[in-house]
């Protein structure tokens, strides 16, 4: 007797997801005001990689489309990875960086940095992600502190604390904008969650954060599994629980900050993707985490594709697209899955 979800081999599923991501990336590069056939996209990428890029099409793909798609993939993967970690630590499928208020914390940090640095300077590229990370980390500890009672964290308090902190920080963020009117438009667009300003410097800015965060998370999959058994049992089986919790929260905040620093507030990716993957592959983080990273990347590349093309030439912030899909999904999760899982 085997559980149905075991019929899908995790290794096979991860390879499949990688292929889907590649297809989504090619589609994402090909779509836009000027559409490029998939074959031409591949040819252009090959030319660019071998240093022989030429003509308008290659410039469009290499300078506009590719950085944007890569950035979308990194942001999506980072959000999904953070979601996986939060959900394991809190044993709660409703946890994600957006709902816990971590994104708002990172957002406030980023907006402060944006307001202080008037132009797109090297200082801004360094300061925004750093401030986002500090904001995310501080918010994380604040929310956990607020939701803990006698050393215990319960799901409802966690969500309530997350929502409360999130509103407060958003208000502070709006308040800041009143003082920085000349940057209001860009901050507002950034806050709605957008990849419109994507460029290679942005990719370079968050790629190291993402790579470090993802590597540390992938090195902790066994501990994440044990955390699902509860703090007490994890400790009995050899996990230094409080140390690991702080470590994992820091990793998740790093991933969240990477995403928020370049793309603003994008909700629900960190919630939906891990949950869908868990439904198909089961709870084992050795497959859940890599599959969620790939899935998150794919989802955001596709969401950005929709955001760019559905009302072209007007571009919708990608956060609106994920929220339109994610809101109902969250309600469904609350009504059905959240109780039994």
């Amino acid at each position: 007797m085997t559980s149905p979800r075991r019929d899908i081999s995790p290794a096979l599923a991860i390879c499949g997801l990688a292929l889907v991501l590649v297809a989504a990336v090619i589609a994402g590069i090909g779509s836009g005001a000027v559409s490029v056939a998939p074959g031409d996209v591949i040819a252009s990428i090959v030319r660019g990689l071998s240093g022989r890029a030429q003509g308008m099409a290659d410039t469009l793909i290499w300078q506009v489309r590719l950085p944007r798609v890569v950035l979308a993939a990194l942001v999506g993967a980072a959000l999904a990875g953070a979601g996986v970690i939060y959900q394991a630590l809190f044993r709660n499928p409703l946890a994600d960086p957006y709902i816990l208020g971590i994104s708002s914390g990172a957002g406030l940090g980023a907006v402060i940095a944006l307001t202080l640095t008037a132009q797109a300077t090297a200082l801004r590229y360094g300061l925004v992600p750093a401030a986002a990370f500090v904001g995310a980390l501080a918010t994380m500890f604040l929310v956990v502190k607020l939701a803990s009672w006698r050393g215990r964290l319960d799901a409802i308090s966690l969500l309530l604390a997350g929502v409360a902190v999130s509103y407060t920080l958003s208000a502070l963020t709006s308040f800041l904008q009143v003082f920085a009117r000349e940057q209001m438009a860009s901050v507002v667009f950034w806050m709605m969650g957008g990849l419109g300003s994507a460029s290679w410097p942005y990719v370079a800015m968050i790629a190291p954060m993402f790579l470090v965060g993802a590597a540390l998370a992938l090195a902790s999959t066994r501990e994440l599994n044990l955390m699902l058994l509860g703090d007490e049992r994890a400790g009995q089986l050899g996990v230094d629980v409080s140390r690991f919790t702080y470590f994992a929260l820091t990793v998740a905040s790093l991933l969240t900050a990477a995403a928020v620093a370049v793309a603003g507030l994008i909700g629900f990716v960190g919630l939906m993707v891990p949950h869908m993957v868990r439904l198909t592959l089961g709870p084992d983080h050795r497959s859940l985490l890599p599959a969620s990273l790939l899935g998150g990347a794919t989802v955001l590349v596709l969401a950005d594709l929709v955001a760019r093309t559905v009302m072209a030439p007007v571009e919708i912030p990608v956060g609106i697209v994920t929220a339109v899909v994610g809101g109902p999904f969250f309600v469904w999760l609350l009504v059905s899955g959240g109780r039994s899982r």
Binding site: M1, S3, L228, E232, Q236, G238, G282, P283, R341
Partner: protein, 419 residues
């Protein structure tokens, strides 16, 4: 023999609250030590101090010769396995993956399980009779299966010390015996076991030694029959109980008779109960509960009424097993009868061995309540019937059963609410 687990003058608690003071306890390899005591006394806290979930304020706890303060969580998990009271899993790992988590303390960060790890998981599942569940998702299994999987998970840690926190409280009778028999076998292989038991009979049956945890203190561990006695049960649990030997297992068996807290606060008069052959036991218990100060006439050692009277703290004239009453015994009963407000004679058969209980009662000159009729119970050739008739002539009340006794006593003596 070296100890695998050694508490020396350990003070344990949580944060600012000290739960257990000055605990000293040794568990040797191959030994099962049981912890018994009331709820909230600190039994589980003792176990939790070993795994670092409770704080060790003073003293030491050594595991396999190393102080736990010096061990990392990983090092400790290679030596100490825990089976919790109840296992809850909200996520659908396969049973095999679940047991495999017990190998965590042996795996390097990027290492994957090797031949030895798989062999240990397989062995743990075979021992706990869970091998057939290997591919099942754990969130679909019964509590009994989960409990055995938790034991398998702990065994996969290859522990030298196994801690059990009421490991069988959620198991049915069959699985309870299966798990505890297995624990005994593991101890025979050299593992040290420290187990919290709520069920005193199981504690006596499966422990080499038992320690009592109460009021923040841990008693010296000793053999179950020396630790679990009526005196300890009354002192620690506030329960009066018959402590005997289970005829099948030959181990201590506890039958609770009444809780001290259930005895009526209102003190009533003094009664003498004539019983024997076990017929008086329920009435003795009820009268003590009602607040009467009860003594009993002569009872043979080994008689159920004698066991119950002892458990209740009811004084009585002691007879050797199957011995008839001699003049000394009769005099003792007369002395008891002289000091009471009323006498209750139960529907016990009367022979030459015990008819003097009836004789002493009739001669005492206090109100008598007779249960049942004498017909068919007189094996003395008429003496018992004559005494019975004399009692009735002198104004004794004849009632049908225990309820009748209580009603008769209420009307003969004071009502409970009269005082």
């Amino acid at each position: 023999m070296t100890s695998s687990l050694h508490f020396s003058r350990a003070c344990i608690g949580y944060g600012a609250a000290r739960i257990v003071e000055d605990a000293t306890l040794v568990v040797a390899p191959g030994e099962v030590v049981g912890l018994v005591g009331p709820n909230g006394a600190g039994k589980s806290t003792l176990l939790r101090a070993i795994t670092g979930e409770a704080d060790l304020f003073a003293g030491d706890i050594d595991v396999a010769g190393t102080p736990i303060r010096q061990m990392t969580a990983r090092e400790r998990a290679r030596v100490v396995g825990v089976v919790p009271q109840q296992v809850t899993v909200a996520f659908s790992f396969s049973a095999e993956a679940f047991v495999g988590m017990g190998r965590h303390p042996y795996l390097s960060r990027f290492g994957s399980p090797g031949e030895h790890d798989r062999a240990q998981v397989e062995r743990a599942m075979r021992l706990t009779d869970t091998a057939h569940l290997a591919q099942r998702p754990v969130d679909a299994l019964s509590g009994g299966d989960l409990q055995r999987l938790a034991l398998a998970q702990a065994l996969a840690q290859e522990p030298q010390v196994l801690l059990l926190d009421e490991p069988t409280s959620h198991l049915d009778l069959n699985h309870r015996l299966q798990v505890l028999d297995l624990v005994r076998d593991l101890a025979s292989d050299g593992i040290s076991v420290l187990a919290v038991f709520h069920d005193l009979d199981l504690a006596a049956r499966y422990s080499d030694r038992v320690a009592v945890v109460s009021d923040g203190r841990v008693s010296a561990a000793d053999s179950p029959e020396r630790v679990i006695d009526a005196d300890m049960l009354r002192r620690v649990f506030g329960v009066r109980a018959v402590v005997g030997i289970d005829p099948v297992t030959g181990t201590t068996a506890v039958t609770p008779v009444l809780r001290d807290g259930a005895v009526a606060a209102h003190r009533r008069g003094r009664l003498l109960v004539v019983g024997g052959s076990g017929v008086a036991s329920p009435l003795l218990r009820q009268l003590v509960l009602d607040g009467w100060q009860v003594s009993a006439a002569a009872l043979n050692a080994g008689d159920t009424d004698a066991h119950v009277a002892e458990a209740l703290g009811v004084p009585f004239a002691h007879l050797a097993p199957f011995a008839p009453m001699d003049e000394d015994a009769a005099a003792e009963v007369r002395a008891l009868a002289a000091g009471v407000d009323a006498i209750v004679v139960c529907d016990v058969p009367f022979g030459h061995g015990n008819v003097e209980n009836l004789g002493a009662s009739v001669g005492a000159g206090v109100p008598i309540v007779l249960v049942g009729g004498i017909e068919g119970r007189d094996y003395t050739g008429g003496r018992a019937e004559a005494l019975w008739a004399a009692a009735l002539n002198a104004g004794a009340v004849e009632v049908a059963n225990a309820d009748g006794v209580r009603a008769a006593l209420d009307s003969l003596l004071d009502k409970p609410d009269a005082r």
